[in-house]
Symmetry: C2
Subunit: 496 residues, 2 copies
Amino acid sequence: MSEAVAATGGVARAADAPAREVPAPPDPVLRDWINGYWSDFLDDLTDWLRIPSVSADPARAADVRRSAEWLADHLRGIGFPTAEVWDCPGGPEAGLPAVFAEWPSADPGAPTVLVYGHHDVQPADAATDPWDTDPFEPVRRHGRLYARGAADDKGQVFLHSLGVRVHLAATGRTAPAVNLKLLIEGEEESGSPHFADLVREHAERLACDVVIVSDTGMWSEDTPTVCTGMRGLAGFQVDLYGPGQDIHSGSFGGAVPNPATEAARLVAALHDEDRRVTLPGFYDGVVPLDETERELFARLPFDEERWLATAHSTAALGESGHTTLERIWARPTAEVNGIWAGYTGEGSKTIVPASAHVKLSFRLVAGQRPELLEESLRDWVNGRLPAGIRAEVVAHGYTRPCLTPLDHPALASLRRAMGRAFGREILLTREGGSGPAADLRDVLGAPVLFMGISVPSDGWHSVNEKVELDLLRRGVEASAYLWADLAEHWTSREGR
Amino acid sequence: MSEAVAATGGVARAADAPAREVPAPPDPVLRDWINGYWSDFLDDLTDWLRIPSVSADPARAADVRRSAEWLADHLRGIGFPTAEVWDCPGGPEAGLPAVFAEWPSADPGAPTVLVYGHHDVQPADAATDPWDTDPFEPVRRHGRLYARGAADDKGQVFLHSLGVRVHLAATGRTAPAVNLKLLIEGEEESGSPHFADLVREHAERLACDVVIVSDTGMWSEDTPTVCTGMRGLAGFQVDLYGPGQDIHSGSFGGAVPNPATEAARLVAALHDEDRRVTLPGFYDGVVPLDETERELFARLPFDEERWLATAHSTAALGESGHTTLERIWARPTAEVNGIWAGYTGEGSKTIVPASAHVKLSFRLVAGQRPELLEESLRDWVNGRLPAGIRAEVVAHGYTRPCLTPLDHPALASLRRAMGRAFGREILLTREGGSGPAADLRDVLGAPVLFMGISVPSDGWHSVNEKVELDLLRRGVEASAYLWADLAEHWTSREGR
């Protein structure tokens, strides 16, 4: 056994494994500018976080609008020539407003970047949830800023407002090195019901070379990462109907089909013994994990025991031949989110239930086409049921998977900019969840990058949400480096 | 092919197939006595049916007691030397009272018969259920008597009160030919929670050679039958626990076990492709269907399409190699009565649920021991679960199966007595459901016979419950014949 093999725990490194990258040193001038702005920046963010822009609560609709107007005012105040509040298609009554802002570059051929984020927040109620402090009265403590929206997503949106200012100050520019556009949604925490329509309606003004999604996270402060993909999602409800009403299991049981049994047989048949999904064609087109990405995943300091603790689980289980990280990031899955049939109260009730219901969702990866899944599922269900059981399959809509092209020059820029801000090589991750990023990609025809300046402990959707102030500062720095790096290494003509 | 084979549709009759029996002619004297008593009998039954003895409704406890006292008074009035109201073990506050009555024979060596029935009834509310008339204001119409309890079970209990009177009148006796005991329960419609204890407490006074259960039904008025068995029942809840709380299916799904999936896999594995139950040892000891009984079942005018309509089902499905009647009467089954896990509301919620729950019940036939089932199920469940899923199996108690010995002389007496009353050969059936009859058999050590004077259209537990007056009259006649026939063909010494 060679020394090299021994040093990697017996796992031989491929000869063409990516070299570890050494980040460029930080720009002390730029850091000085950040320090100068820092106190005002935090005060402004605090003001914005005080606005309870809870999109799920109809009583907060005026607050969501106030939040949008606050942001547009702020962006105009720091120099954006354009900053507008955009109503949903259908008008102010149809949904909650987004903010669009634009700051063109003075350089011909500069690439155009669209930053996506959202200004609405999850519900939070100090009276009923165990927050240590009021979620809408931001508090700075131990190097953190606690407030609903501090990490998801106002903090991550706001870092770009300081990022562009220090980018200008440090480079002596009056306009950014890239054509900078911001689209800050107001309904993300409510499922983005009008987002695709909004993007289609404004597709010309949103035209760009690359989308930077600022609404994800990174591995940890010690291991900064860039996410290269989110899985897609397709949800279904399968309803099985047997007897016209619940019937006596003594008089009829064992002689007519039971829809609860048939529902269980369907769910059980959805995975084989290797826990692979059995739907015909399910894996067709799945883009396999790139060797580079697989190698970068393997370098993450993944501790399965700790991960299981965050999953509130005591054992891992999934598709054979893949690691846990591969299973949640790069492999498609089928999951039962709910099942119900018959009697569910105390004690027993001896019936054959009239119906059974299953909620299924599929996570999808690049190469899978969610529109094909519905027909495949319907055929599979109907082909497995005995006479006497009728099925209805209802689709709950889908979100497409989204994968950043690994060879795109903007991804290299993002890794360099973040590496410089964090003083470390930026590894790659993916995100197991799903988001509306693919709508941007599909409507605008631009690749999507994920710049997540947040760590798992930030408490998204939970109590005591916070942002680490040091992380936020590095995010500002990375944002500033990014616009210069993109302009230096990539022009619109080359990129497109 | 012989003529005989052709005549039976190609199915060869076994050489020892039971000969069709010609019933004895009716006793015109006895019928005259019935006619004489008939009007008073119906008036008395009507009075009793007016008492809303709903055992499930705590507000009706006094009515259940009044019903017991009414019956005891009545039985004393017609000549029973003993008729007592028995409180539950634990006293009048612990449960609802039964009635015990006894009329010893004057003949030495006469067999002792215990008739079982119940005087409590199912709930019925004219204000909320679509009854045509008040369920507790009996109405005679078109040869039927409509009232809650008319068939289940006051009518069937009461026919014995006239049966013994006309038996005495027609035979000139002052005491019945058998030692007659009645035990009329007051909690049957509430699951007989104290019945086994009651029987054990009074086992000496209830001692008998045979039990006649008067609380089932027959095939139809045109095809009178005797039921020879009821299935047993064992109910369980299986609770599966996975993650400590519902977790995000995007972040964790596909990489940790999902308790809903595992519950479905268990339920699916409970039957094989032949729809036989796969629990190890499940079929051990199962008494196969007797050839005589199978032949008598086959002679029933069973119409599967009509049966499916009563099952509100469109197709039959069950254990391979058995007919529908065999499946529901003579074969054990496993049935899912309920299943639930995760999200069951509108739309979708992308979670891996923390737990999943299944309600299972097993119908058992003679030879199966329900006390073995719990351990078998627990072992089977635990043996099939992956690491990360924990199971709890909770037993909901059981009812033993009960099968009349087909060669018992009392069964021959019952078939002769009923055959004479109905003017037809009495075929055999069984009952797919379960009842407390096995408690009587096990505690008293006496075989149990089922004398069901009711037809499927009588509306048990449903609206517009009724009894056919002609059927009731034939039941009275059969009861009267039965005591004489039993005494003539069987003495206690022989029978025991």
